[in-house]
């Protein structure tokens, strides 16, 4: 294990170097995350911020926390982020139209003010005493120490969290799962409908679109032997969307000579 912070209270040179090297990068990445126009860039910069934090955790002897930070946040949560970005479309960028006039300058001013206040406050704060207890907490190993806390002192909170997980699962079901109102028609039902219906016209299956006509496309209806168009050959989805091409122009006109 890295023993960078064995003598707690005083920061050793390697840790200081590590901090002053990585901290500015983390801050720049965090600012970039806010300013990037594309969501993917924001997500990747966020991942970098999280990895930097994980390195800091590990440098401060919180090995387990650091690893969990990488595995859970940078791994699982960030991947979920990216999956959702893929669903939404990588190229889509945020709408930068202001709904409330003057909101952006006001919020930037407020954020800078808040940040400045926090920096001056925390900059003046010191612990007031030497940090103690890290060695004692990690005597039996970092993971073991955490496990002891989790399964003795905070076991009740740990148990109650299960209620939170169940609520989350139940909520996802309520918001996303839809039960079928009608039962699905199976192959057997379709077959019966085809042969016992009023006419046997569709017994051999519906005509395929386009191919019997002068065009070969899904939005052009097939032509029946008498030269008229067959609307049933077009997918109902296309029909509902209004993407069906008017079939009249593709119908075979009876030749004028024959009429004579």
């Amino acid at each position: 294990m890295l023993n960078l912070a064995l003598h707690v209270g005083a920061t050793k040179t390697p840790e200081a170097v590590l901090f002053w090297f990585l901290a500015p990068l983390a801050v720049i990445a965090a600012l970039g995350m806010l300013m990037a126009k594309k969501a993917v860039h924001s997500a990747l910069l966020l991942a970098w911020v999280m990895i930097t934090l994980a390195i800091f955790y590990i440098a401060q002897d919180a090995l387990f926390l650091g690893i969990v930070q990488i595995v859970v946040y940078t791994g699982a949560v960030m991947m979920l982020f990216l999956f959702i970005l893929m669903l939404v479309g990588v190229d889509s960028s945020d709408s930068l139209v202001e709904n409330i006039k003057g909101q952006r300058p006001a919020s930037i001013a407020a954020a800078i003010g808040m940040g400045g206040l926090m920096v001056t406050l925390i900059g003046r704060a010191s612990l007031g005493r030497s940090a103690v207890g890290l060695v004692a907490a990690n005597t039996n190993g970092n993971v073991q120490g955490l496990a002891e806390q989790l399964f003795t002192k905070y076991v009740w909170a740990f148990e109650v969290i299960s209620a939170l997980l169940i609520t989350a699962a139940l909520g996802a079901m309520v918001l996303a799962h839809s039960q079928k109102v009608r039962s699905r028609t199976g192959q057997r039902d379709l077959s019966i409908a085809r042969f016992r219906g009023d006419s046997l016209a569709s017994a051999a299956g519906l005509p395929s679109s386009g191919v019997f006509a002068r065009h070969n496309a899904v939005d052009v209806p097939a032509l029946l032997p008498d030269g008229s168009a067959a609307p049933t050959s077009i997918s109902s989805v296309l029909k509902a969307r209004g993407d069906m091409i008017e079939s009249a122009i593709f119908e075979l006109q009876p030749k004028e000579e024959e009429e004579n």
């Binding site: 905070y154 009740w156 109650v160 209620a163 939170l164 909520g171």
Partner: protein
């Protein structure tokens, strides 16, 4: 070697029973047929609350104890608040059980063919009941939790089901979904503030328990900057939940968008739980640092009372108006936090009970005023309703008078004892602002009374539907409590005085 922790499950029984009932509800969803689900869920939910209340009665004499390795404190005020939450949740469940208020199928896109067929086939989302129970369990843990981690977990357990249920309205679904999303995002934001504050308080005191923080403040070894940042951020998280100005902006939108029975549940029970926790944190954890936080909380209380009372006047929607009135009441309750003595705590407990019943009753009546498209919340269309249905309108007026703090209602006794406690501690400014805000609010409430009874009706399509037995019972019970506590306040005042103690 680990020694097994002693959790004292028998003391945690009230919460465990509710959690068990919620789990049973989830199993019912999975295994019972659709036809029997609504009845089964309602029976389980109501039975659970009754059983849990019985556990509270068993536990109440064992007060001043800690359970779950000191992370839960069972003391008088805690047990009283738990009992209040259970009774209020019982009444609110009766309103919730009137399923006509919820989306037939939440997953169907609003206005889609799927939604129409779901309504036509009479589908209902019975998951509401286990979700309500999970929220109740969180609410019961929140005011008892005595370390910051348990507090945070309880806060999340109570919030998550509420975020969900706010989005399940049957009508005006887009508004409801927007309310849910807004509540969720702002709630997550305030949780982050709460955690940040908890981290700083840990940095200050080296302890996460309220007692440890109190000891560190008295000991005076820690860094005050850490303490101040910790108190500030922890307060932001709490004040968001109670809906205090300037963290109130979610309240009107969410109260308006959520299904009305859920608004009733949220307005009453969440406020009780959040004030329970706020009282415990400030009375037990931070009372030694009172000179640091009192000025700020005083300003917040004054702002909350003033903004709530004044903004309510401008509202045209009855649910938004009641939301602003609930903001004003949060301000009145903050004066109880500022009092920091036994009479302040006792008055707060009384006020919480009085406010909770009045709120559920008022929202219960909102569910009854309808036209063909559903609930009518536009105040202008309520004009002259008193002539059409004098009884229901009369009850609504009773609740409004109680909100306004007119004598012979529970609201008057509540306000009187709260301001009295604040006066005892010499907090004159708050009392003056409180009385002025009450006067402004009274003007608003009386304006509605005039609209209901002394204006000729113009719109004929609005009617008061005949309530189901459950709704009727709920509203009548709330009205009874409002009157009885106004006429014989000593019934409850004596109880709150016996229970008004925090174990430090």
């Amino acid at each position: 070697m680990l020694t097994a922790p002693v959790l004292n499950y028998s003391l945690l029984a009230p919460i465990l029973v509710v959690l068990g009932g919620a789990l049973l509800g989830v199993l019912v969803e999975a295994f019972l047929s659709k036809a029997v689900r609504p009845a089964a869920q309602l029976a389980i939910a109501l039975g659970t609350l009754v059983l849990s209340f019985a556990q509270i009665i068993r536990v109440r004499n064992l007060t001043s104890l800690t359970a779950a390795v000191n992370s839960v404190t069972i003391d008088g005020a805690g047990v009283f608040i738990q009992g209040t939450i259970l009774v209020l949740a019982f009444i609110a469940l009766l309103l919730i059980a009137d399923q006509d208020n919820f989306a037939a199928q939440a997953s169907a896109v609003p206005g889609s063919e799927e939604e129409r067929s779901a309504i036509a086939t009479g589908k209902i989302q019975t998951e509401i009941f286990p979700l309500t129970l999970f929220a109740v369990a969180g609410m019961m843990l929140f005011p008892l939790a005595s370390d910051l981690i348990t507090l945070f977990v309880a806060l999340e357990v109570l919030s998550l089901p509420l975020y969900l249920m706010a989005g399940l309205s049957r009508r005006r679904r887009l508004l409801s979904q927007e309310a849910a999303l807004k509540y969720f995002l702002l709630g997550a934001y305030s949780s982050a503030f709460f955690l940040f504050g908890a981290a700083f308080l840990y940095g200050f005191s080296g302890s996460l328990s309220l007692n440890g923080i109190a000891a560190a403040i008295t000991g005076g070894q820690g860094n005050d900057v850490f303490l101040l940042i910790g108190i500030a951020f922890l307060s932001v998280g709490l004040l968001f939940k109670v809906g205090a100005v300037p963290f109130h902006s979610w309240t009107p939108d969410v109260y308006q968008g959520a299904p009305t029975p859920i608004t009733a549940f949220m307005a009453a029970c969440t406020k009780v739980a959040a004030f329970g926790a706020t009282l415990r944190i400030f009375y037990v954890g931070l009372s030694a640092a009172q000179w640091e936080w009192k000025p700020i909380i005083t300003v917040v209380a004054i702002l909350t009372m003033a903004v709530g009372a004044i903004a309510a006047i401008a509202q045209r929607d009855v649910k938004r108006a009641l939301a602003f009135s609930s903001i004003a009441h949060a301000g009145f309750l903050l004066t109880g936090v500022l009092a920091l003595n036994k009479s302040g705590l006792s008055a707060s407990l009384f006020y919480i009970v009085a406010y909770g019943f009045t709120t559920i009753g008022a929202f219960g009546i909102v569910t009854l005023v309808r036209d063909s498209a559903g609930e009518v919340t536009d105040l202008n269309r309520w004009i002259g309703l008193g002539k059409k249905s004098p009884f229901i309108s009369g009850m609504f007026v009773l609740f409004l008078l109680s909100f306004a703090g007119i004598p012979l209602t529970s609201g008057f006794i509540g306000k009187f004892s709260l301001f009295n406690a604040a006066y005892e501690t010499g907090n004159i400014t708050v009392v003056v602002v409180g009385v002025l805000a009450s006067a402004v609010a009274a003007f608003f409430y009386l304006r509605i009374v005039v609209m209901l009874f002394f204006t000729e009706p113009t719109n004929d399509s609005v009617t008061v539907v005949i309530p189901s037995i459950m709704t009727r019972f709920a509203i009548t019970f709330c009205a009874l409590v409002t009157v009885v506590l106004g006429v014989y306040p000593s019934l409850l005042l004596n109880t709150t005085q016996t229970f008004a103690n925090f174990l430090k």
